[in-house]
């Protein structure tokens, strides 16, 4: 009976660690345990360290505080650097509306500020040897990870989609040049059917890339942090994955359009030679007559 109870208790411990890794980090029971899990493709590893012996815990207390502060600093700085990099990228965006850009940039800056404040607080906790306060602050690193895991892909997808729209705009300008050149070559009697077909595909791919980019931005712009709601976490992850797929599809479209452009340019080069040859041949024929 005792064995059965122990088995059920152990099972519940493993289950809680697997389903709720963030909360598993809060749990500090006797013994060592490493819990690894995967939330929608996002790998999260939580380590629970031993506090089995009060004596050994007191003995390594200072070292524990130093290690805890060091790991907290590492994670906080990692997030600040990533957020800063993305905020810099935001300033280079060209197609997004001013409001949308401000909203994203404000969201990133708020996260940077929150992380900076948290780091200062943890430093104070460590200096004061305030283990309880430090424990709470370290827990908030895990809690805020859910926000980081939304804000980062949200901004990265938006930046990529904005780039897609910039390229699509440049390609539309190029299409107008191609159209004029095709008309000129046609007037000169060159066979430009290959270029006409390639330009039609070029225009279709550019249009689709624009549609995909717009859809990706719309899909991620309305997402909000899940605040621990598992169902919302899954919904957010699904939306981010779908938006990413749209950006990848748009990238594929643009690469195909670029290949079309190369084919069109090749036709122009060939048509120039052919037109010149035709003109020379007909002139020679007329002179012979």
């Amino acid at each position: 009976m005792k064995f059965k109870l122990f088995t059920v208790a152990a099972g519940m411990l493993v289950l809680s660690g697997t389903v709720l890794p963030v909360f598993a980090a809060e749990t500090s029971l006797g013994g060592d345990a490493n819990v690894k899990t995967n939330i929608g493709g996002v790998h999260v590893e939580t380590e629970m360290e031993a506090t089995a012996s009060a004596t050994s815990s007191m003995k390594g207390h200072d070292g524990l505080i130093v290690r805890a502060k060091s790991r907290a600093d590492e994670e906080i700085l990692r997030r600040i650097n990533a957020l800063q990099k993305l905020d810099d990228r935001m300033s280079g965006m060209q197609r997004l509306s001013g409001d949308e850009m401000s909203r994203l940039s404000d969201s990133i800056k708020a996260q940077i500020q929150a992380m900076t404040n948290l780091q200062a607080k943890i430093t104070t906790d460590a200096d004061d040897n305030a283990t309880s306060a430090m424990k709470i602050d370290i827990k908030s690193i895990a809690d805020s990870y859910r926000i980081f895991m939304l804000v980062m892909p949200q901004a990265a997808i938006t930046a990529a989609a904005d780039r897609v729209m910039s390229i699509a705009s440049a390609m539309s300008d190029l299409a107008a040049k191609f159209q004029t050149r095709i008309a000129t070559a046609q007037s000169a009697g060159a066979d430009v059917s290959t270029a006409v077909t390639a330009l039609a595909d070029f225009n279709a791919k550019v249009a689709d890339a624009n549609v995909q980019a717009q859809a990706a931005i719309s899909e991620v712009s309305t997402l909000t942090p899940d605040s621990g709601d598992q169902a919302k976490l899954q919904t957010n992850l699904a939306a981010l994955k779908d938006a990413r797929a749209k950006v990848v599809a748009a990238q594929k479209d643009l690469n195909t359009a670029r290949d079309d452009a190369k084919a069109i340019i090749k036709v122009f080069a060939s048509a120039k030679v052919n037109v010149h040859a035709t003109t020379t041949a007909s002139t020679t024929t007329e002179n012979d007559q």
Binding site: A25, S28, G41, V42, H43, V44, E45, T46, E47, E49, L64, I65, R67, A68, S70, R71, A72, E74, E75, A82, L86, R89, T131, M134, K135, I138, I141, A142, Y145, F148, M149, M152, P153, A155, A156, A159, A160, R163, S166, I167, A170, D173, L174, K177, F178, T180, R181, T184, L240, R244, V247, V248, Q251, L254, N255, R258, A261, K262, I265, F268
Partner: protein
Amino acid sequence: MWVAIIAIVLGGAWWLSSSSMQQAQAPGNGSAAGTAAANDNSDAAIDQSMANIDAQLNGLSSDTVTVDQSMNDQPVQQQAL
């Protein structure tokens, strides 16, 4: 008297030549230059457009790498207290 007239004529000629040189060196209107570039269908203009697009496509590749990294992020394990 003649010296004064010659000086005035030379001064006027210098002023006219310098103002016409300034006009020739003045930068073109930005939008006009932009329109000219947009309407330029030459091989060189198309090559330039292609080069710009290639650079942007490289930037997009870098952007998609950032998207993937952000979605596969790994947190630093925290020390339990």
